[in-house]
Symmetry: C2
Subunit: 324 residues, 2 copies
Amino acid sequence: MRVCVTGGAGFIGANLVERLLVEGHDIIIIDNFSTGDKRFLPSPIKESIAVMNVDLSQVDEKSLTAMLKDVEVIYHLAANADVRGGWSTTFVDIQHNVIATHNLAVAARNASVRELVFASTGCVYGDSTIIPTPESEPFPIQTSLYGASKVAAEGILSTFSMNEAFSVTVFRFVSVLGKYYHHGHVVDFMRQLLEDPCKLRVLGDGHQKKSYISVEDCVAALASLRGPSCYEVFNIGNTYFCEVQDSATIIASILGVQPQFIFGSERRGWVGDSPFTFLDISKAQSLGWQPHKTIKESLELTVEWLLSNRWALSLDKARTLLRN
Amino acid sequence: MRVCVTGGAGFIGANLVERLLVEGHDIIIIDNFSTGDKRFLPSPIKESIAVMNVDLSQVDEKSLTAMLKDVEVIYHLAANADVRGGWSTTFVDIQHNVIATHNLAVAARNASVRELVFASTGCVYGDSTIIPTPESEPFPIQTSLYGASKVAAEGILSTFSMNEAFSVTVFRFVSVLGKYYHHGHVVDFMRQLLEDPCKLRVLGDGHQKKSYISVEDCVAALASLRGPSCYEVFNIGNTYFCEVQDSATIIASILGVQPQFIFGSERRGWVGDSPFTFLDISKAQSLGWQPHKTIKESLELTVEWLLSNRWALSLDKARTLLRN
C-alpha cells in the first residue's frame, strides 16, 4: 500500500516509518526538516521510500495534490511540537499546525486519499478537572497555543471527514518517550546533569503529574488502532502517571548521579504546561490497544538512546541558535 | 471609554456601534469592508468614531498594536460568516477567523487591552445530540470549516486569557436577524420571491430546526453580559425554535405572496448546515440577559428593513460577482 508520513523524519514519524517499512508499504515522507533530521531516516534510503523536503504551510495545492497521487493513507505527524516556544513566537503553532493541516486536508481530498491518521495531543484538554480525562471531555478551555492549534486541526479534519472527503482517526497522545527523542524534559535534564552532575534545575514545583508512553506503543496505535466510524478520537497514554520530580530522580539514577534538585514555585513549568495530564484510555483498550512499556522502562530507553547519540542532545539547541 | 469594534461596518457590528455611541464611548472601527459596508456606519461619521480600513489577517503587528493604543475593550466581530462558501474556498475561514484572531490577540496583548469580547457561533456544536445544547457540551465534532475556525479562535483567545493577557467573553450565537441583515436565508428567500412570487426553492428538506434572535438582543449580550471569571462562554439564542419551512411561510406572508414551496431531500441545506440548532441559554439568563423579540418579530423587522433598503438584497451577490 502507498502511504504518506508527514513529519516522517521527526521523533515519532521516524519510528512509524520503520514499522511501516517492515509491514511492506511504499512510503512518501514529507518533512520540512525543521525539527526532523536526516539521521533519523533509514540508511541507506530504500527504493520503497521517497523523501520530500516540503513545508506543508507553504506548499501550493497543486504540487501537494500531485505528491499524494495514489496514496491511500496519510499519517499526519508534521507539527510544531514545542509547547513552550508557542507563547514567545505565537504564529508558529498557527502556521505549522493549522495552516499546514488545512493545506494537507485540501490536497488529500483532491487526491482521493481514503484515510488520514492524525497525531493530536492530550494538551487539548487544557486544565481538565476530570481525571483521568475521557475523549468526551466537556468543551475544554485551552491553556497553550499548541493545544489550541491542535484543536483547530482536529476541527478542520473532522469537517473533511463529516463531508465525506476521507475518514479520520485522531490520537490524543500524552508525552512520548523512546528512540529518536530529542526535545523535552529528558533532554533538558540530561544536558544539565552532563554539564554539572551536582545540581538539577526543574521548571515548576516538580509536582506536575504526567503520564508518558513509549514510542513503540504510540506507533502501534497510529499503525493499527481504528474505530468503526468515519471520525474517531482515541486517547493514548499510560495506565498511571508520575510526578516530574520522580522522572528527574529516575533520570539521575540511570546516569548514576545524585544532584541537588532545585525546584521552582509555580504549579506550571511554563506557559501552557498542564499541572496534571492523565488520560482515560479505556476506549483504545476496549479495541485491543494496550501500553506495554512502563514509564520507567521508557525513560531508561530514552536516556540510553540519547547517551549513544549525544549529537541529538543539542539538536534543538543548535537549531535555535541558527534561527536567532 | 475607548473601545474597538472589529467588523464594525458589518451587520452585527454596525448595530453594536450604534449602541456604544449612545453609551458615550470613543470607538475605533476596524473593518476590511469585504462584507461590511460604509452605508451601515453612522452618517455623518461623528468625532468620537475612527474608521480603519484594515484586513486583520494581513496587518502587521506593530501597526495593529498602535491602532489599539488606549483601547480598553475590543469587540471582535470581524469574520468570514459565510458558512456555505467555506467549503468551496476552504482557506477563507482559516484566514479571516483564525489568522485574523491570532493577529488581533497578539496586538491586544502588546497594547495592554483589558478585555476582549468575541462573537462566536452555535455552529461550534456541530451536530450535537444534546438539545438544547449547553456551553459544557462534550468536545464536539465539527461539520463546517466555519465552526472549526471559530473553535480555533476560541482556543487562541482562551490561551491569551488563561495566561493573563486580557479577559475574554465568548458569545456563541444562533443566527441573528434585524437591521443591516444582508446575508442568509431571508435574503435568499426574498430575492427569489421578488423575482417570482409563485415559487420558492428551499435548500434542504425544510425541516431543519433553527433558533433565531434579534440583533438588539445579540448586541445587548455583547455590550453588557459578563461572567465572574477571566474566561467566560455564553450561549445566546431564543427560548424556542422553528423549522426553515415555517420561516419561509412567515416571509412569504409578510411579502403578501403565496408561493409553491420546492424542498430538497437533504437533512442539511448545504455542507456544514446543522439540521437542528437550539442552544441552552440558561447561563446567560441566570445573569439577567433575556431574548426580548420573538422569531416572527425578528423576521418581520428584517424583511421590512430589506424592503426599505433593497440595495442590501444584492450586496453579497454583487461582491461575489466582483470576486469572480
